[in-house]
Amino acid sequence: MSRWTWLLVFVLASIPLWVTSLYFLHILITTTIFIIAAMSLNLLLGFTGQLSLGHAAFFGIGAYASALSSLGFEIHLTDDLAIGIGPKPVWLAMLIGLIAAGLCGFAVGKIAFRVRGAYFVIVSISFAEVVRLVAVNWVELTQGPMALNNIPPLTLGVSGVFELSFARKPAYFHLVLAAAAVCYIVIRRLVNSQAGRAMIALRENEPLAASVGIDVTRYLVLASVISAAMAGLAGALYAHYVRIVDPDIFLFIYTVTMVIMVITGGKGTLAGPVVGGVVFGMLPEFLRAFAIAPELQWVLLGALMIVVVFLVPQGIVPAASSWWAHRGRPPAHPEPPVEALP
């Protein structure tokens, strides 16, 4: 890794030292969690070109699966037959959350990619809504609108020897920062590999991709699985941070937030969801400083989204890097896009 990367890592990791406001730290934590979700959506939407508008479903499934695994649950299939599991350590619960979301991504991918284009968008939205309604109504499992609470925080360690607790904000910030870094690296590796190229190929020209041997369904499903698992991880991180989860986590508005982050940041780029996440994670806070009603905030966000899509349809990162590449210089050789982060 280059010098600049190390510097960036150092600066980010040191944030809890010089950011004293716990509230601001809270904002950073939630923003980072959303950035992970946005990066996962970018894999499906940006690189593979599938406009999936049900992503909050995977986020929420990860959150619920992790929370339920850490609390333990029991459901009665019939009057006599009940299944359940006892409470699991949080790190295992998070893993379960990730896997559960990934499995759903697999199922959804296999089924949903039979339809394409606008129909796929609608199927993805419908899927998320069905999941939400199940979460609201299957009270025995999810507590419905009364929410799952008292979700345990993450602690790692060997009992009696040492214990590392992530209940406090600074520690949790490091946790989510590390998770985000790992996810970023995973996506970068994927994009620069055979699999990533296959995904891009089927985004750009599906018949041509098939003609050179790319199994379209296989790569759509792969993108769906990885994307869902990563979103599930973000959901699990969220659940053990706020420690309360209710069906609102599946609301379409959260999917929309992720979509806004990806598109305005620059879909199909590595840095895009990060930039978009920072902008739209912090923007509501910035607006709050002006004591604006939440509805007005959303109106402004909606307007901003429209403006960005009109003015810079390719997103902030590509527009910025193309401006940076051509400033002062006559456009001789069109260069391949430069990533903001290595």
């Binding site: 590796r189 994927l190 055979q194 190229r197 991709a209 098939a210 003609s211 041997g213 790319i214």
Partner: protein, 263 residues
């Protein structure tokens, strides 16, 4: 039913229907190993439909297609490509926003076996495979004389070079049978000459070529054998010289010209 010894590609009794119209009816022909075979015929004769059926983009109403003795009918396009049958498209078809080099890298898909887990873990086998792939891509670029364009965006190339890039992408998939759909349409004479030379080089690599083309000079210049279609049926099959003087062929083309003249 198995293929005969002579046919590398065997099309048997192929029939394709569009709505109520028979685009192709009972078409049977062979492509022999190592030859350059051209399909010609007036517009609407069914040439591209035949391509689409052979390469899995279209489901035939009837008939079978065999390649080296194994059935192709019913397979998906990517499975057919994996067997060694690769096609180009009539309309310019590239991964437009990607660089020329990336276009070729994508075309090399079948040559790698990177497992998703290995990719995510960043194992050295993946890095090694990537290196090999890049090397192979440069080889192909040199073969097609496109190295100078490597970093340019595919859609930024002049038209003639775009069509060459299409062929390069198809070659990257390591075909033993290459299907070219109107490869020189829209090219100027100089580009056509360059293409014919490229085709000769492809042929000397041992690749069999099935060609659909309207440009008669190119067809006569490169083909070992020509099959002429009209209204979904084969009306002639022979060497360029035989086809040139074949009465049915002349009638088919004259007929079309007369139809066009009547408007």
């Amino acid at each position: 039913m198995t293929a005969t010894a002579s046919g590398m590609l065997r099309v048997e009794d192929l029939s394709i229907r569009f709505g109520g119209l028979m685009a192709i009816e009972n078409m049977t022909f062979d492509v022999r190993e190592g030859e350059v075979l051209s399909l010609i015929g007036p517009n609407g004769a069914g040439k591209t439909s035949a391509f689409n059926a052979i390469t899995g983009y279209l489901r035939p109403a009837r008939g079978e297609i065999f390649y080296r003795g194994r059935r192709l009918t019913g397979l998906r396009p990517n499975a057919i490509a994996a067997r060694g049958v690769v096609r180009t498209f009539q309309k310019t078809s590239l991964f437009g926003d990607q660089s020329v080099l990336d276009n070729i890298l994508i075309g090399l898909h079948l040559r790698s076996r990177q497992h998703p887990i290995a990719i995510i873990l960043g194992l050295p086998s993946v890095t090694a495979d990537e290196r090999e792939r890049k090397a192979a891509a440069w080889d192909i670029l040199r073969f097609m004389a496109l190295e100078a364009r490597a970093q340019e965006s595919g859609s930024a190339l002049p038209y003639g070079e775009q069509r060459l890039l299409e062929v390069a992408i198809a070659l990257a998939a390591r075909p033993s049978l290459l299907l070219l759909d109107e490869p020189v349409s829209g090219m100027n004479p100089a580009e056509k000459v360059r293409f014919m030379a490229t085709l000769a080089r492809i042929r000397s690599e041992g690749i069999t070529v099935l060609l659909v083309e309207h440009d008669m000079r190119t067809v006569m210049g490169v083909s070992d054998r020509i099959i002429c279609l009209n209204q979904g049926r084969i009306i002639a099959d022979g060497s360029p010289k035989e086809i040139q003087s074949h009465p049915e062929v002349i009638r088919a083309y004259l007929g079309e010209r007369a139809r066009r003249a009547d408007g």
